[in-house]
Amino acid sequence: MIWFEIRPMRWISRQKNFIGLTLNFLMRRKGKHTALFVVYTLIVFLLSSVLFFTHAVKKEASLVLEDAPEIIVQRLVAGRHDLMPEKAIEKIRGITGVDTVRGRLWGYYYDPVFRANYTMVVPPDFKYGEGNLAVGGGVSRSSIVSEGGIIPIKNHEGIIVMLTIKKILSSDSELVSSDLVLISETDFRNIFGVRKGLVTDLAVSVRNPKEIATIANKITKLFPDARPITRSEILRTYDAVFNWRGGIMLLILSACVISFMIFSWDKAAGLSAGEKKEIGILKATGWETSDVILLKFWEGMVMSLTSFLSGVVLAYLHVFFTSSVLFSPVLKGWSVLYPEFRLVPFIDAYQVAAVFCLTVLPYTAATIIPAWKAANTDPDAVMRA
């Protein structure tokens, strides 16, 4: 009984001594290890920030766009999106399984005064009437207009039309509404010169979601110049856009992984003369190879754990408290109107485990291997080297 009580206590006390000694060794080269800690934390921070940001956007897109139209039907002329005749609505409605078909009126307006692009949308039920608008937070910010203010819009004939802002859409919805300008059908047609009987595209709802693909095929057969875009394709778009294999994500992730590889390789490539001498002295004073390895294991763990935890927590603060302030110059690009959104913190243990496996494990291994090599050679030879 006493044996069972004493053994764990001895083990803990031994580990305590090892950690204390490790801290002593680390403090002896304070500058070098502080620099290592900063670089390590920075890599974990960058890697985690990218993972947190992309996962949160993908998750939010999948939840928010779950209610997007089931099928969008667009007409293509010479490979470009063209206006759709409204008479197609009746033909599509005739397809078995189709519930409703609605013509969507929407388009882009470039504001030459504020150099911003707006997305003009005609809602099915626009309650503010002709001559009025409801705008997203980004439009209000870029055009410096609040509720009751007036926005001048140049129509297709070059005449300036004055429209009054009746409502500014809530700031909580900026991820979908920042650049939206909700407008009446009459104003939309007057501004863009879209004739009656034409719409931008069609939104089709289907009674049985399992029939979406079949109905999309029937639409293609009925209108060979049309292309249907299904809701699942819309949802998959965001999965692909923020996939680690594409675009900026691949660039940042590969930069992080390569820097970490160089960093770990440098560590694994060999010990400095001072470190070798230390191991030689430890061996000469009676330390076992396993003790030296344990000491180096704790050195790796102390450095890895502190850097990993600090990097992950800082990344969380960066993405969900500062709205990814460091990424915003990249995301803004040439956009004048940029949405100010707060992402819902969707994080899971899998992401954190991925960062852990990519950083802590290789670093710890890189610390132990050269120490094991040095500890296996003759202490005298190690000290003289």
């Binding site: 001594n17 204390g20 801290l23 002593n24 403090m27 956007v57 939010e60 939840l63 928010v64 766009l65 209610d67 997007a68 139209p69 969008i72 293509l76 490979g79 470009r80 999106h81 609605r102 882009y108 692009n117 997305t119 949308v121 099915p124 980004g138 909580d172 919805s173 991820l175 979908v176 650049d179 939206l180 293609t220 292309r227 875009i229 299904t230 394709e233 819309i234 998959r236 778009t237 965001y238 692909a240 856009v241 996939n243 675009g247 900026i248 102390v302 754990l305 935890l309 600090s310 992950v312 927590v313 969380y316 969900f320 990249v330 690009g333 040439w334 956009s335 819902v344 913190p345 994080i347």
Partner: protein, 114 residues
């Protein structure tokens, strides 16, 4: 001496660990707190028939990536290069890439030139 350093280190590690755990607690709490905002965005998508998130506003094909077409890289003239910064950040949507080589080519002869 070792004991003091050990205690300081363990104190820092525990502080770091508690921040780490707090991060998950905060995430769970925020998901609850922000669920009305999420519902509002969903309602907007349903009411106005929206199809995309407003992440980039400089180019039409990055404002609405799911609605982009195969002419995107040639939007000004057949040999023009893609020039919006956001265009280099995101790849084309999967349905455009896969269908562009099958259905779209068959459906629309104009794509055969791409």
């Amino acid at each position: 001496m070792h004991d003091k350093k050990f205690r300081v280190f363990m104190g820092c590690l525990l502080l770091n660990l508690s921040f780490f755990v707090l991060m998950f607690v905060h995430a769970a709490y925020s998901r609850n707190e922000l669920s009305p905002a999420l519902a509002e965005k969903s309602a907007m998508v349903k009411e106005y028939g929206l199809t995309d998130l407003c992440l980039f506003t400089d180019a039409r094909y990055t404002r609405h990536p799911s609605m982009a077409d195969l002419n995107t890289p040639f939007q000004d003239y057949p040999l023009s290069f893609e020039h919006f910064p956001s265009g280099s950040l995101i790849p084309p949507p999967p349905h455009l890439v896969s269908r562009g080589l099958s259905n779209d080519l068959v459906r629309d002869p104009a794509h055969a030139l791409d």
